[in-house]
Symmetry: D2
């Protein structure tokens, strides 16, 4: 916030920034927290959705144009996590139609895939990162990791996500193709972009932050996790604690910026959001079409696959403009 | 059916049945057909969707209650195709948090999956089944199957699906828990159920047929492909040719009934729909909640994952009631 | 041995049986045991091999005929463990040569596989089954299961196996095609077969027991784990404690007979051998050719793939007759 | 070389080099060739093995020391072919023993793997590379690639390999840790190394060439396919056509040197050996122990896994010194 010098920003902006700076003073607790939604909660802030919240956003839809926020999945695509040993995306035919047209009446094609669940556009669930052996709601790995994975907070527990979405186009606000290597987006950056867009956040929003890095997709040498720009911890804190965002997403691999400065925690924003605040993440979103059309408020829909115990699910979210 | 106007209720029903029987006289051509949407078409009847069609259904939404039409994915779940050698659903941890809570600051969990693309609730794309070496739009396997699969009509080409959906609850209409083994649903069965429900089909609908077989899920010994009830060819013809359905789905594994009576084609309804009519299929839908609440008309949303070349994609569709 | 009543079985047989009955009196301890080869031992009885033992058997080779003891691996092959959710054998092309001969100079084919490590002919390593959280040498899962599996007693620690092998053809001894469903082979059965064959066991032997079940291979409905004939605990005890066998194998899926009578341990012979005695197992061996030719003593060679942490490795053992 | 009899040492060496240069003049034909072993042959030069050849080498064994020529397989290991989209080596637990020792009587661990078949130490089979749509013995992909891969020349057709092996230590001969980037080993290099070692090749040998590159293993940044030293075409021709080698292997990823100078064929030595000469290849061999001990002649044993249709199999060969 220290860069905020001079200018007649207006009382409102000042008030917002004061709230932000208050938040900044709060420290990440570095311990998994209990859920305000009770001891059985496994989905955190997604509890903010209900019939009324969905009806409210659905009735604001103004037309039938939809924006596709998912990327293609293909062999050789960029991968966050092959450097950590995780498998790359694979698809292969298990039934190959007979060679030579017409040899058989039926031409049967089938295929299988394998992928790290954090592949392409996806949602991170709350069991992805914990602190000191515990995930969100202080659930211990010793108690809740079974023979085949987590029994708590997996993608199978996630509801379809139908909520108001907001794009914060930081790259456009800064007039760059994409943010520079390892840049940590500040709360002030977000506030500045929101002001330029004329967009206001509301509690329960799905907040999508555009770094512009998808302009590098799918170049595996340029679109890569380890030095990407993304949200700073302070910016995440402002969105969640001050603005009451329900879900955070970005067009980079890990929402937050890399590398982390914390020698014992390479994903401090993940652990803050997932283990302390119960906030899930959307990663590798395709925000280019929304940005090009200047669409900043929309009905956001995403439906995680209910894979038992999964720490993430590939998704293909859509956005439909609202008034 | 819109041609069928006026007349007493009895007459109307007769006329409907006559229309149906007219359709029945048409024969499946047993050859892949050209698309009316041009030589580059890869998605067939999904071309019926446009901004206007989507706006029309979106504005009819009446509330915020949503129905989840997808099943869970888990190790040991029912599988259509393991008898054909296809892989079963697998999920496994690639990062297992350290044993003994608190051994490390960061508790890192990650996982990977592999699956036959026709697993759980999914959409079949138009390259799944062809005839005599050609799929929809007379695309030849010799030309369009590359090193790693189909270059045409894969899931990567599919748009998000946002359209009016209709449930035809045949099991309820017949007052059974589920249709009997291998039962072939007729056009008359569909018409009877629609009449009881008071539902009318419109061109461009996503038509979901309930057999009741999901009441057997996930018992792998009872919910299985090879002797399931489903649509007869005649019923599929009525829905597509007479009623102009855009997309057909069901709560069984293969939409159509099994086994086929055709010794050289074990999926005659698939080939009729996919290769001849350009109609994609939705399989293993969870229709129990819609049925219980008697919700027959809804906004239907499904977003296939854009996996390059894939013959199917797992999906988790949602339904939102409309007026 | 309690069945051994009356009769003039011959002094020799009595002596053998006395040794056996002595062993029988010993109870399985139902606790993982410490290794006599020291606290760092991870391979148990395979420590019995050394240059001298190998030289001894190598010099007894009499010719160049070799017997192949491995089965083929193919999609749809029998699998021990799909009923437990484990993946079936899969192989798929990742590079498919261009259709239409001669389209390209280079015709490039490549493929990938996935399999449960206990697939086809394989060796079980000592981390496969433990008791009360500990494997062989009292190594605790809490200490030695890391992010990606066991750090102890994996296939990567296993030496190539080069030793004297002995076939005990129990099916032939009993003059049956294969032993009956769930039959538990007794020590007396083994002794009888050895007597008929004129074969003597020596300390350090690889002992291969023929049930004849491979005559049912690869019929997936007939060759299956859950009711197979195999070694009783008592027979395993005799081979290991009295006869000092180094390694036990069989032509069935699990060496031992199924189902187990122990309600809390479905593999009591595995746990006895692996956790208490440090004896590894060879499963799904092809012994038909050895049996047909009456080859009972041979150089046995098998080379487990050094997959880090693996609880098993597929192998293709060979046998070369010795004098 | 047995034709080359008599003469002084100098003359002999000259003759050898002349023979080599004669061979060099022969051109690769760039067409798949017919097998001299008949129209059904699928294994090429491995037909040189028979009971007599095996007996001959087995009886020369002098002791019981064995050399392990296979590398470990682990997540993150060097991979030839991830740059081409092929999957990396993966191993994962499908049964994870309960957390907290002693929670259950039985501690059950199981795991699965997936890998590109050309992973770690492996054998390339004759269907790996063809020319103009045909592999060895002029088998056409159009005829012999089925629904799930090749029906000809797969690893399932390969016999266990038991033959005389010879190490040619080119790195030691040139007194370097490893050959330089992209270096193409010449026939003269091989001859020089053989002379220094005092080793003579015989028809039917398994010839293993040491580049020294395994001294870089497993550094994924240093041990990589695309610029490795290896055999030149001319050297391969000399080994096969003049010396009648049965099988060629090396301690690099692709036996031959990379990159190829042929713009339409990135593996000219592979196609020469596999499609024209019927010679299989052994890759990523661990030759360091043999080299250190100066063991140049040995019994070579390798047993490819009989995976149906596979273009390669991981193996763990062993070498036992012979006189």
């Amino acid at each position: 916030m220290k860069r905020l010098v001079g200018g007649a920003a207006g009382l409102c902006a000042v008030a917002v920034l004061m709230a932000a700076s208050t938040v900044v003073l709060a420290q990440a607790k570095n311990e998994a927290q209990k859920s305000p939604w009770g001891p059985d909660d496994e989905i955190g802030t997604l509890n903010m959705m209900n019939d009324a919240s969905r009806a409210d956003v659905l009735k604001r839809v103004t037309g039938g144009k939809i924006y596709d926020l998912g990327v293609e999945l293909f062999v050789g695509m960029p991968t966050c996590c092959a450097p950590f040993g995780d498998p790359t995306f694979q698809i292969w035919m298990t039934h190959n139609p007979a060679r030579g047209s017409g040899k058989e009446v039926l031409s049967y094609s089938g295929d299988a895939i394998s992928l790290y669940t954090h592949t392409g556009t996806h949602i991170d669930t709350l069991n992805h990162f914990g602190l000191h052996g515990k995930i969100w709601n202080q659930v211990s790995a010793d108690d809740a990791v079974g023979v085949r994975g987590w029994t708590k907070s997996g993608a199978d527990k996630y509801p379809p996500i139908v909520a108001r979405g907001v794009l914060i186009d930081v790259a456009k606000s800064k007039n760059v193709q994409h943010l520079p290597t390892s840049y940590g987006i500040t709360a002030a950056d977000l506030q500045e972009a929101l002001k330029r867009q004329g967009t206001k956040l509301r509690p329960g929003d799905v907040v999508l932050v555009r770094t512009g890095l998808m302009t590098l997709w799918p170049d595996v040498n340029k679109y890569r996790l380890l030095d990407q720009a993304g949200l700073s911890l302070e910016a995440a804190q402002w969105l969640v604690e001050s603005q009451k965002a329900m879900l955070l997403g970005a067009d980079n691999f890990g929402v937050e910026n890399f590398p982390s400065k914390d020698p014992v925690n390479f994903v401090p924003v993940h652990t803050y959001l997932q283990a302390e605040q119960g906030v899930s993440l959307l990663e590798a979103l395709w925000l280019e079409d929304l940005a090009k059309d200047g669409v900043y408020e929309f009905l956001f829909i995403a439906t995680p696959l209910k894979m038992k115990g999964a720490t993430a699910s590939p998704i293909r979210p859509i956005a439909i403009p609202i008034r």
